[in-house]
Amino acid sequence: MPDWLTPELTGEIARGVVVTVALTLITTVSSFCVGLVAALGRRSGRRWTARAAGTFVEIFRNVPALILLIFLAFAVPNIVPQSSRPKVFFRNAFWDFLGDLTTLPLPYYAVAAIVALSCNTGAHLAEVLRSGFDAVPQSRIDAARSLGASVRAASLSVMVPDGLRIAFPGVINRLIHNLKNTALVGFVAVPDAFQEIQGAITKTFQASQLLIAAALLYLVLATVFEFVLGRIEAALWRGRPIDRTIDV
């Protein structure tokens, strides 16, 4: 251990890693839900539902995640007049409670970051899932229908699980990308791992070593995350053909 690496500094970085992991887990679940709803909405028979879902996807897929983050965290509070701004976004019972719960000084920024990342990753996932749903053979859905399943039951119990299996490699790719996108939340004052490491650099001037450590940290996180997602994919295919094909 080099002598500039004080226990205090390691503690800060460790807390940052916890924030990064928590952000990743939360946005993984939320963006998957957003993506699933948007993909189903886009395939829905109702024209306005499909149109609304399509608009959502095309907007949030084509704007950089960083712009979404800054917009939600820093621009949106300016809508409220300056006098009541702190009360609405930073200091009221709700935010105090959230602050105590997460030990973050300004929880609004973390919530804004979660919403921005969920919308961005969710829109990308919607496209991945939709291509998976499109790839499910119609004959399987028809078979379910002829056995008496309603349209909703056929899509929820045949199309969604099969489509998810087909689309899962793309889902893994996007979720890994999302993990790396969490490194951007430092821009909006969320103390994640990279933000804490940059803070440590300004204190110790050990830029090269700390940056290499940051790169290795994300490599490890991405590798572990990919392994876990791979296990989930294997579980999805359990008891099904070994060559991972969907029977017609």
Binding site: P64, L66, F71, A75, V76, F194, A215, Y218, A222
Partner: protein, 239 residues
Amino acid sequence: MSDQLNFLWRQLPNLLWGFPNNRPGGLVLSILLSGGAIALGLVLAIGLAFAQHSERSWLRLLAGRFVWAVRGVPLIVLLVLLFQYLGTGTILGIEFSAFWSAFITLTLYSAAYQADIVHGGIAAVPQQLRDDARVLGASRLTVARTITVPYSLRTMRPALVTQAVTIFKDSSVVVVLGVTDLTTNARIALGGDVGNAPFWVATYLLVGFLYWCVAFGIARFAERQIRHNASVVGRAYLS
């Protein structure tokens, strides 16, 4: 409302092509930066993909490790890391500014993702086709140049376009080095002035819209081209 529009109108040239003393900047610089990185990255990626298909195991390993490492690290970390080594001094007589450092990082980042796509594309070229050409006397290089590369580029075009759009959007991260791209110029335009606070929403809506126009435009244009080409190829098969 009118002072909002007034502010946007005053800042529009700065956002589109940069501040007067620092041109090209803004959206034009974002396009140049990402366009250059995508083009140069593709050349690198083709090299990397061939290395991954090489018969020499050390070359396969090296290319594979490079792609794995770059894909596992966030772009912002790579940007700051490489700037630490390239940006603070001269290497081989070249002074690396933040811009060139960002350009090199973005190129390597782009190449790693494109290499995976090209890797898949090469694997999709029928082996028979390559073997036939070899039997007819073509050298390895000729086969690569006239069969493998054009054939795989065609099958991989949709994926490459998606990747190009992603690189364009990700180029907004260069704000961390202060390269005067669209995101940075929006920040500079708003500045630390509290009086500009009412303009934040409008400015970032405009910035998001500008990114959206280019990203959506590229995707739509490519989609149409690919559909057009597919129909031409389909007709050729039918006749």
